[in-house]
């Protein structure tokens, strides 16, 4: 068995038992990257020497019986908008192609302190917005892996890394994770620090990550945020609010059928599902999200765009420009409506362990020009509620489908508890994929 095939939990456990060293795990993952990167193109930077130095240090500590955390010695991919000390951080932009931060993002610092090994920087769309990277979906390399955390999702999916950091402003963690058949977790807004993460829209940006199992996602959260509220008492089988309306109307036939099949399977295992009617205010989600994001992105990029318009690709240029034209009162109105949407959604959640809907509108689109629609993820970025995608099946053309679960604010471990139950009931294989090119 090659170490790259191990989940984070398996690798961590084996290292504690002396059956694996961080050095051996890093070597295996680097070999996997060497083999697959020409096809998948998930990485911007992999510094082999730095990886091996950190892995060797973790090995020495392990030999002394010192394990800093469950992530000790575990290599982790980092989206290329997270500052990494001494390592190029490009934001997916030519403007930053030579930028080397002198500090780590807070979450990267936490990872290093926990003994994790920074494996490298993963591809992102330009400034985590729209214009895509070259990364391909391991399930079918003619399809997008999704974005903006494109490289993180693809790398975890094909066994180049057991975990990778991402960020989500619209759907940039959950969507690519679903497209690539892995677990993607976007915690409650603000639970993981955004310090040192290049912003797109301050009040919408979330730090999250991808793994190949919910168990791994739990271990990562315990490491990254040890004081997150622990899981509360839960019934043996979950009670889940089923979201139709907006989600049913906008899902492709295949995505909705896949969702119904997943729900049927979970129901067969004892989960209770109750239809939930979305509040009237929910219809404002796309407009409110658009206004908040366009205006905040405009504020982030206004100076840069003025100083160097040629340094921006067309989509972000247009998006930022559109935000510059929005009145201040419209932005404030959007933030006022946002509070109403949040209040109304929270009022739906009483009595349920979580809400459920498909993770994406459809499976990963063919081609690399577009990273897909965030329409099913943006509501949870807007409301700041924790959400997670669990692989739930495959489409007719062998692309993954995901089940998205949404929890109460700051009850992230509760949500992951339900996700773990669903994952087991759905029985989706969690092993890494070899890239497939038809």
């Amino acid at each position: 068995m090659e170490p790259y095939t191990l989940s984070l939990a398996e690798a961590s456990s084996l290292m504690r038992d002396g059956g694996l060293t961080p050095t051996r795990l890093a070597e295996s993952l680097l070999d996997r990257i060497d083999r697959l990167e020409p096809v998948v193109e998930a990485w911007v930077t992999v510094d082999r020497a730095a990886v091996m130095e950190a892995a060797d240090a973790a090995t020495m500590e392990a030999e002394e019986g010192r394990f800093r955390s469950p992530l000790h010695g575990v290599p982790v991919g980092v989206k290329d908008i997270f500052y990494t000390r001494g390592m190029r951080t490009t934001m997916g932009s030519t403007l930053y192609s030579g930028f080397v931060p002198d500090r780590d993002a807070a979450v990267v610092e936490t990872l290093r302190e926990a003994g994790a090994v920074v494996l490298g920087k993963t591809e992102t769309t330009e400034f985590a917005l729209h214009d895509p990277a070259a990364t391909r979906n391991p399930w079918n390399t003619r399809h997008t892996p999704g974005g903006s955390s494109s490289g993180s999702a693809a790398a975890v999916s094909c066994g180049m890394a057991p975990m990778a950091l991402g960020s989500q402003t619209g759907g940039s963690v959950v969507r690519p994770a679903s497209y690539c058949g892995v677990v993607g977790f976007k915690p409650t807004y603000g639970l993981l620090s955004r310090d040192g993460v290049y912003p797109l829209s301050w009040s919408l940006d979330h730090v999250g990550y991808m793994t190949r199992s919910v168990e791994d996602a739990v271990l990562a959260l315990k490491t990254l945020k040890p004081d997150a509220a622990p899981a509360g008492e839960v019934d043996e089988t979950p009670r889940i609010g089923l979201l139709g309306g907006y989600f049913k109307e906008n899902a492709s036939d295949e995505a909705w059928l896949g969702f119904e099949q997943a729900v049927g399977k979970l129901w067969g295992e004892g989960a209770e599902f109750i239809d939930v009617e979305l509040p009237q205010s929910f219809g404002m989600v796309p407009s409110v999200h658009r206004v908040v994001m366009a205006v905040e992105a405009a504020a982030v990029h206004e100076d840069g765009l003025r100083a160097n318009p040629e340094g921006y690709r067309e989509y972000i240029k247009g998006f930022v420009s559109s935000g510059l034209l929005a009145p201040a009162t419209a932005y404030l109105r959007a933030q006022r409506i946002r509070g109403i949407i949040l209040r109304d959604v929270l009022s739906l959640m009483g009595g349920y362990d979580c809400l459920a809907c498909p993770s994406t509108v459809d499976t990963a689109p063919r081609g690399l020009e577009w990273t897909g629609s965030p329409a099913f993820n943006a509501p949870w970025s807007l409301t700041g509620l924790p959400s997670v995608t669990v692989p739930s099946g495959v489409s007719e053309d062998e692309l993954p489908l995901g089940l998205q679960l949404v929890g109460r604010p700051h009850r992230d471990h509760d949500l992951l508890g339900v996700a773990a139950w669903c994952e087991e009931a759905l029985g989706f294989p969690e092993g890494p994929r070899d890239p497939y090119t038809p």
Partner: protein
Amino acid sequence: MSGDGEKEYIHMVKETAKAMWGPEAADRLGEHIERTAAAVYAVSNYPLEPTTEPVTRMNPGET
């Protein structure tokens, strides 16, 4: 604004873009300008009580 209010508003924003960046650039950015202007229009026409405060510091645990 009523009736064709949305169209009128989008037209007005596009004219502003032309005045700011010139007709060629405004045309190139047109789709984005249109989509954001439509969202602004929708938001501007959503009825709100004066007591409804904006979310200024996101904390989804407190509403």
